[in-house]
């Protein structure tokens, strides 16, 4: 239906323009030069608007911009035809009829500019302007025809104003002044609307709006100059007047072209899909896909989130969960990409991209394979994140359990045994030395046994959790470790400041395990321990002069690697056979 209508309109515009041209050619030499140029320019403007309007209409049938442009085109055609006919035939009231019709294209054009690019008035100011625009134009023109000398309206040969008041009547002057003022106000209002909208237009959408806005501003500027000139100079030299008219018309020819350029720029965006396809043909690291999509859609704020069916959640490339609800701000929009009805991913982007959903879908389709890849990758990352968290919980739980057991030993068994030894001591002192030598000897023996038991219990508790570490920090704890070592240990000065407990504990266990290995397996004769700060990390290094060949997958080192990994640190074991062992742990301290 609308397609046929468009075809009909296109043919009408073509035919009317051709008739106009034919009339022009027929008149030939009879017509003054400037007028002929004007008429040709008007045909140009008409066709330009009609053609661009039809293109826009077919691309966005639900947007009235196209229809308005076609209307502008047809109005100019009618205007041109009438002007042509009137100047050719010189029928009575011909000028008056043309004068009325001539206001129409400008009114529709102003309407078009005011509501561009939505095609309809959305703000109160826009609605006010559209109504005022139409309400003012026709009555003003009528009033001018009735009261003003035709000569000052542009018809030198016309006999008189319609009410025949004659010449420069005060009413006529007043009407001219009022209409000029009104036009100036409307022009300013329109300028205000255009500037405001430009400032409110989000970045991505400005691209297609820019050419239209640019030509619009030029048009408005020339129009304002013309109006000002008319106001200050009642009868300007015809060269200036025609020049300005031609300037306006030329700009008007350009305006629809600018619109087409805007459309073409969106088309150019579509060509970015091709670039994206080329980029995706190489394997992209998952994090880069988001950047590639952002480039293709020219939206630097674009975020890509993958759907994880197991978790019923969206996550980013690193596996962290993403809340789509957090993106409901006015200028944000979410496009869910689906495959067979199931969500695969979500694009969180600027709302302006919703203008061109086809582009977003095209980009998504191009990137589908890579997105699916990225989704799997994100799934693995999310699982890894979970594993890491659970490993951290296990280590955390283990450490808490160690502290609890040490505390229980201290307050329970150890304290009781100390009480027993005290009681034994008192008993022993009461027995004295003379009375019962056998009892005294038995008590001494029990006390000695108890001393050994307490010593063993103390070492056990210490192995479970070194209290000195939590009480005094890494330096004293490493020194205590060295004091107890069966092989000579040198501890390089340790940073005196306290570090996060998890870092201190991990550093301590690294040193303790490495030292135990050096003593047990490496047959080392000297060990050096150092702990120093490097770029926010704590680097713990334990080196020995033993036989080397340590197995990084042995249970002790494996456990250390787990501990270090919980802190996002790195554990390196350098242990070539015969060259000693060097164990290095890099522990980030931002905990």
């Amino acid at each position: 239906m609308s397609q046929r209508l468009r075809l009909a309109l296109a043919l009408t515009a073509l035919a009317a323009g051709l008739v106009d041209l034919a009339l022009l050619l027929r008149a030939g030499e009879d017509r003054p030069g400037p007028l002929a140029y004007l008429l040709v320019a008007i045909i140009g403007v008409s066709w330009s608007f009609a053609a661009a309007g039809l293109v826009a209409w077919s691309r966005r049938p639900d947007n009235r911009t196209g229809a308005l442009m076609v209307t502008v085109g047809l109005a100019y055609l009618l205007n041109g035809l009438l002007l042509n006919g009137v100047t050719l035939v010189r029928a009575p009231l011909g000028f008056e009829l043309w004068f009325l019709v001539a206001t129409l294209p400008e009114a529709v054009l102003a309407h078009l500019i005011a509501v561009y690019p939505d095609g309809r008035a959305t703000t109160r100011l826009q609605r006010l302007f559209v109504v005022a625009n139409y309400a003012a134009t026709v009555p003003l023109a009528l009033a001018q025809l009735l009261l003003v000398d035709p000569a000052s309206l542009g018809c030198a040969e016309c006999p008189d104003d319609l009410l025949a008041l004659g010449g420069r009547h005060p009413y006529g002057e007043a009407v001219l002044a009022v209409s000029n003022l009104l036009l100036a106000v409307l022009g300013a209002l329109l300028l205000w609307i255009v500037v405001t909208r430009w400032r409110q237009t989000p970045g991505p959408r400005r691209r297609s709006l820019a050419p239209v806005a640019l030509v619009g501003v030029v048009l408005l500027a020339v129009y304002m100059i013309q109006q000002t000139l008319t106001a200050v100079m009642p009868s300007p030299p015809s060269l200036v007047k025609t020049g300005l008219d031609l300037a306006i018309l030329t700009t008007l020819v350009l305006w629809p072209l600018a619109f087409l350029a805007g459309l073409a720029r969106t088309r150019l965006d579509h060509s970015a899909v091709g670039d994206l396809a080329i980029e995706l043909s190489e394997t992209l690291p998952p994090g880069r896909l988001e950047q590639a999509l952002a480039r293709a859609l020219r939206d630097p704020t674009l975020r890509l989130a993958y759907w994880l069916p197991d978790r019923c959640a969206f996550v980013d490339a690193a596996g962290r969960s993403v809340e789509l609800d957090g993106e409901v701000a006015d200028d944000r929009a979410v496009t869910i990409l689906r495959q067979g009805g199931d969500p695969v991913a979500a694009l969180l982007h600027h709302a302006a991209l919703d203008d061109d959903p086809a582009l977003v879908q095209a980009v998504a389709a191009t990137a589908r394979m890579t997105i699916e890849n990225g989704r799997l990758h994100a799934e693995v990352r999310a699982q890894l994140e979970e594993v890491r968290a659970s490993r951290a919980r296990i280590v955390e739980f283990g450490d808490a359990e160690r502290r609890r057991v040490e505390r229980n030993l201290h307050d329970g068994a150890q304290q009781r045994l100390v009480n027993v030894s005290l009681a034994l001591g008192i008993a022993r002192s009461q027995v004295g030395t003379a009375a019962d030598e056998e009892l005294a000897a038995a008590l001494d023996e029990a006390a000695a046994e108890l001393r050994c038991a307490l010593a063993e219990l103390r070492e056990l508790a210490r192995g479970i959790h070194p209290v000195i570490l939590t009480e005094a920090g890494l330096g004293p704890a490493l020194a205590a470790l060295a004091e107890r070592s069966p092989i000579p240990v040198t501890v390089a000065p340790v940073p005196p400041e306290r570090l996060p407990p998890r870092v201190e504990e991990t550093a301590y266990y690294v040193a303790s395990e490495a030292l135990a290995n050096a003593a047990k397996h490496a047959r080392a004769t000297a060990v050096t321990i150092s702990a120093r700060r490097r770029d926010g990390d704590l680097v713990v290094e334990v080196g020995d002069d033993g036989v080397g060949g340590a197995d990084p997958d042995g249970s002790g080192l494996r456990g250390l690697a787990d501990r270090v990994a919980v802190l996002d640190g790195r554990l390196r074991v350098h242990s070539p056979a015969g060259e000693g062992t060097r164990i290095t742990a890099e522990l980030p301290c931002a905990w």
Partner: protein, 214 residues
């Protein structure tokens, strides 16, 4: 002689009081935490305090901190810190913080009733008492190329007793040696370890421990 005992383990506290009373040391008060101890010392300074390192509320090092505060505020009050484990770090902290009159012993030592009474008397008299376990660990510690490795066994024994805070006379009695022999050993050790000779027992303990720890 009057002492105050601070320990949250009531049974132990009372047993210790009995032991001290039996050795003619008057127990002026028994308290269960560091706050009460400090209040008691402020109100009526005793000759010495015996304090457990772990006490309420956090059960970490309240006793140690209270001991350090008493040493700073009441240098005339001897301080004996008891603990179920001994750390060189704590020993050094206590020693470095003031001039004598300080002791650091394993809680087990109370089994030897005479020993603990002797330790209380020594700290009350301005002497230093360091647990043999701390000293043994430091003396027995394995080292690469250290003058300690070159000491004779007898010299090591003398060194350990010095580190425990024993005077020359006490060393004589312990090792059944004449004062002259002990003095000769002490001089020999100081020369061998290149330590400045000092007549002050406390300084001697500090110097020896610092050397052994380095």
């Amino acid at each position: 002689m009057r002492v105050v005992i601070a320990d949250d383990a009531v049974l132990f506290r009372e047993g210790l009081a009995r032991v001290l009373e039996a050795a003619s040391i008057q127990v002026a008060a028994q308290v269960g935490d560091a706050e009460q101890l400090l209040a008691r010392v402020r109100a009526d300074p005793p000759d010495a305090v015996v304090v457990d390192i772990r006490m309420p509320p956090t059960h970490t090092r309240e006793g140690l901190d209270a001991a350090l505060r008493i040493r700073a505020g009441h240098p005339e009050v001897g301080v004996l810190v008891l603990s179920q484990y001994v750390e060189t770090h704590h020993a050094m902290q206590l020693l470095e913080d003031g001039a004598g009159g300080v002791g650091y012993l394993l809680k087990d030592r109370v089994a030897d009733v005479a020993d603990v009474a002797d330790a209380v008397r020594r700290v009350a008299g301005g002497g230093s008492v360091i647990d043999p376990e701390v000293v043994a660990r430091l003396v027995g510690r394995r080292r690469v190329r250290s003058p300690v490795e070159e000491l004779t066994d007898r010299e090591r024994e003398v060194l350990a007793l010095m580190a425990e805070g024993r005077s020359n006379q006490a060393i004589c009695q312990r090792l059944f040696l004449s004062p002259k022999t002990v003095e000769a050993h002490v001089r020999g050790i100081f020369t061998r370890l290149d330590l400045p000779a000092t007549p002050d027992d406390h300084r001697r303990v500090l110097a020896v421990l610092a050397f052994l720890r380095a």
